[in-house]
Symmetry: C2
Subunit: 248 residues, 2 copies
């Protein structure tokens, strides 16, 4: 069994914390990483404040295989992510000729003013991540992957950087619809199944709408036979409870 | 000037980290708190693991005026939030007669099995938060507010608990559309405005769609005169740049 490859996401931006902008990146990256065999273990959202960003970058990059950040790499005064990541990693930061070359694909040389050149400030030793939409690149330094906050640009950057990442065994996910059985009826049985199948993680997820509660049981694991066995046990348990109900 | 009232959100759930469920609570709570004068300063998402939850509850509750948690208070084995919060706060936890009374509004006594009674486990000293939808309550212990993960239930609980919270001055937010001016053109001017108006926070938020980039400048502060002055300076700066462009 290979060691798990883990990750955290750090979303940087006052606009998410104020509720003005609704984040669309966490769910997207979470699903993407699951699909390529990287286990997302933690997410944080912090404001555009240097001390907060530096502390979070250090804590998360030290703990997980990869740290993905979104936001704060534009040309304005509130875009401080690159500088904060450099500080967190203990390296210098300066205008990077490779980044300037990328930006010259979009901007005439005379339009590359000081503000726009700010987007070419890259920590020393970083690899660039191409941005096909607006050209200003993201970057990867050590295990920290710095991406834009605009979803379409972030998604393109993620595609570009993902190819370079180490991945582990993919999570196998099996869904089981409980057919209207309430959580409170199957909870004890499900707990017993979970104890009997320690190699998988089993969750119960209610959703609520006008039609009432609907419950899904989800079995997640990295070994197909273990997921199959747990799913069969879940199915037998739920079917038995439906039969009990029908028999009353 | 009164001290700011601050908050953090802790989202508890493997299903968010796997990407299976897309969180709808962070954005909702963020906007809600901003509107009632509580400043959201940090968000974390952690898995259904005791050590992770306890550590996060302690870190965030010690640092901010309030901590709001969502998720993990149902009847199944993966619902461990209440026990983790009790552990984090150093108090005992047991079936709470007030919570059982609430649940008896929905369930017949003979249907209150052990799993459902699990939802009546409340840390000692907590105040209950009513749940008009499925009756199993949330709770508030110290400065930690524990709510359901299902959005409609969370929202009802937030309405109920919000009345009991201390609030500060509301954030005044002014939006300014840059009328198609690119960020790289106004970034230097905006930086100068930000320095000249230290009492407010000024952000620049690009969005990207088929029509290209659209940029909004947002001025946020708690003193109306300061927000007005900064907004006027932003407006004058952008108008000047448009005029410069037209004159070329």
């Amino acid at each position: 069994m290979t060691a798990a490859i883990t990750a955290a996401i750090l979303v940087i931006g006052d606009e998410i914390l104020s509720g003005r902008t609704k984040d669309k990146n966490i769910g997207y990256i979470a699903e993407y990483l699951t699909n390529i065999g990287i286990d997302l273990k933690e997410v944080r959202v912090v404001p555009d404040e240097e001390a907060e960003i530096v502390t979070a970058v250090q804590a998360l990059s030290q703990r997980y295989t990869y740290l993905f950040t979104t936001g704060g790499i534009g040309p304005t005064h509130d875009d401080i992510t690159a500088d904060c990541v450099a500080k967190a990693m203990g390296v210098s930061i300066d205008h990077d000729p490779r980044a300037i070359a990328m930006m010259l694909e979009r901007y005439a040389k005379e339009d590359l003013n000081e503000a726009r050149l700010r987007m070419a400030r890259i920590p020393a030793g970083a690899d660039l991540i191409e941005n096909p939409i607006s050209k200003a690149p993201g970057f990867k330094i050590g295990n920290v992957i710095v991406m834009a906050g605009v979803p379409s640009i972030m998604q393109a950057m993620l595609d570009n950087v993902a190819k370079t990442l180490e991945t582990g065994a993919k999570m196998i996910v099996a869904n089981f619809d409980t057919g209207g059985l309430p959580e409170g009826i199957y909870a004890a049985g499900l707990g017993a199944v979970a104890i009997a199948h320690p190699g998988v993680s089993i969750g119960s997820y209610p959703s609520f709408s006008a039609g009432g509660f609907k419950n899904q049981i989800v079995v997640r694991g990295k070994v197909q036979a273990e997921v199959d066995a747990a799913l069969a046990a879940v199915s037998a348990m739920v079917t038995g409870l439906h039969a009990d109900k029908a028999a009353i």
